[in-house]
């Protein structure tokens, strides 16, 4: 997924295996790419070739993160009420 776009020109990609990080010029990413977007990346010899947007995966992760943030806020609200 695209962790960040640095200085508006270099995308830093993190991989699901949690072991790799790849820097790719933003101009080589598929249209519509942005931070937090998941991609299906094609590599050759470890180098970036191209990618497709994975909208479904992006939505799944967003939904889970939203739910977990809500849990944190609700937990804090309960703790504040109980004090």
């Amino acid at each position: 997924m695209i962790d960040r776009i640095v200085d508006e020109r270099t995308a830093v990609l993190l991989f699901e295996d949690r072991e790799r990080e790849l820097h790719v010029p933003v101009v080589l990413l598929p249209p519509g790419s942005g931070e937090g977007q998941w991609l299906r990346v094609r590599l050759e010899g470890g180098d970036y070739v191209d990618a497709d947007l994975d909208h479904e995966k992006t939505q799944d992760v967003k939904a889970r993160i939203s739910k977990k943030r809500k849990l944190l806020l609700e937990r804090m609200a309960r703790r504040n009420r109980d004090q």
Binding site: D3, L14, V27, G36
Partner: protein, 364 residues
């Protein structure tokens, strides 16, 4: 404001602060700009409070080690300025290693496995959780913490970056994380007080931050940035170095100095390196950037001129000319897009001192 003094290498203070085993003098505050490579992590340790701002990069394993070296056992407040991997990277390790009383996140929901993993660790912990907003004030012992950003969550992650101003007696620190120009403008428009003796430069010294208007509002006496040496983004950028030179503010980086420490008793302060070596200042005056009359400007030089640069022959010169048609180079580091030029060769090109990119004062 009391008399300020700056020490390049303060051996006496190193002994007092305890590079080896710390006994903090009463009322002294130490701020450690930790050397965590191309990432950021800052520790504030004062009488009765310990605050951590950001947690380094996900590809490294050094933040816990740094904190243990400075005898951190509990953390009263852990601020994650934003959830990029170079700021939240080792957040889980921090939560699992230390007793953390409270965590601040902006509330921006970044859809990465790393951020999700941090939220999982946070849910597993007993830490309190807060999403700070502009105008809030908090006291930690004698330290006053004012939240300057965000005012609300925006669709831009850096726009939601948590910015805090920490005042200890007469000495103030500004921690900007990766706040960029548009965030600086947004804060400036809100007529906040920005003045700070010590400015943590936004986004590792990138040209996307530290606009001249912002620098003039902060009026820092010292600027510090965290970056790796070398780093593929070219941080700190020449434009920022030039802006700091214009306002005559010394600029120190963890890339050249390792961990940088600021000591203050709330009246005076001093800046020094953990190693005890004399601090190396970044600046045009250090000759780090070539004389434009003698150098080769990468976006305008011809085929022949480009070949004066080390490792550049006819094929790579042609590649540079082709590249700049679609992607004008913004720093010498952008030569990384030229086939065959790796980090080592780019470093050698920099050392040769011929190649440069004409700086653009984007916000002027």
């Amino acid at each position: 404001m009391g008399k300020k003094w700056l020490s390049m290498c303060l051996v006496v203070l190193l002994l007092v602060s305890g590079a080896t085993g710390t006994v903090f003098a009463r009322d002294d505050l130490y701020v450690y700009y930790l050397d965590v490579g191309q990432a950021e992590a800052t520790l504030l340790k004062g009488p009765g409070f310990t605050i951590l701002i950001d947690a380094g990069d996900s590809g490294r394993n050094d933040v816990v080690e740094h904190l243990e070296k400075w005898h951190v056992e509990t953390i009263d407040l852990f601020i994650v300025t934003h959830p990029h991997a170079d700021h939240i990277g080792q957040g889980r390790a921090v939560l699992e290693t230390f007793e953390v009383a409270e965590v601040w996140l902006s509330g921006y929901e970044h859809a990465t496995w790393l951020f999700e993993d941090f939220l999982d660790a946070l849910l597993e912990s007993e830490a309190r959780y807060h999403e700070p907003r502009r105008g809030e004030h908090f006291n930690f012992g004698e330290l006053n913490l004012e939240v300057l950003n965000p005012s609300t969550i925006t669709t831009n992650l850096h726009g939601s970056n948590v910015v805090v101003r920490a005042t200890y007696g007469d000495v103030t620190f500004l921690f900007t994380g990766d706040a960029e120009r548009r965030t600086e403008r947004d804060m400036l428009a809100d007529n906040l007080v920005f003045e700070a003796e010590i400015l943590s430069l936004g986004h590792h010294g990138s040209r996307t931050s530290s606009s001249m208007d912002f620098l003039l509002a902060v009026r820092p006496e010292v600027a510090i940035f965290s970056a790796g040496q070398p780093n593929s983004f070219g941080h700190p950028h020449e434009e920022v170095i030039n802006r700091l030179a214009i306002v005559e503010v010394p600029m120190y980086g963890t890339d050249r100095n390792g961990t940088i420490i600021v000591w203050t008793d709330g009246t005076d302060y001093s800046v020094y390196s953990e190693s005890g070596a004399e601090l190396v200042e970044v600046g045009v005056q250090n000759g780090e950037y070539p004389d434009p009359e003698q150098g080769v400007e990468l976006n305008s030089a011809g085929l022949e001129d480009l070949q004066r640069i080390l490792h550049i022959g006819p094929a790579r010169a042609a590649s540079i000319m082709e590249l700049r048609e679609t992607l004008p180079l913004r720093s010498v580091d952008d030569l990384k897009w030229v086939p065959g030029l790796d980090t080592q060769r780019i470093e050698e090109i920099k050392q040769q001192g011929l190649a440069y990119v004409k700086g653009v004062m984007e916000d002027q």
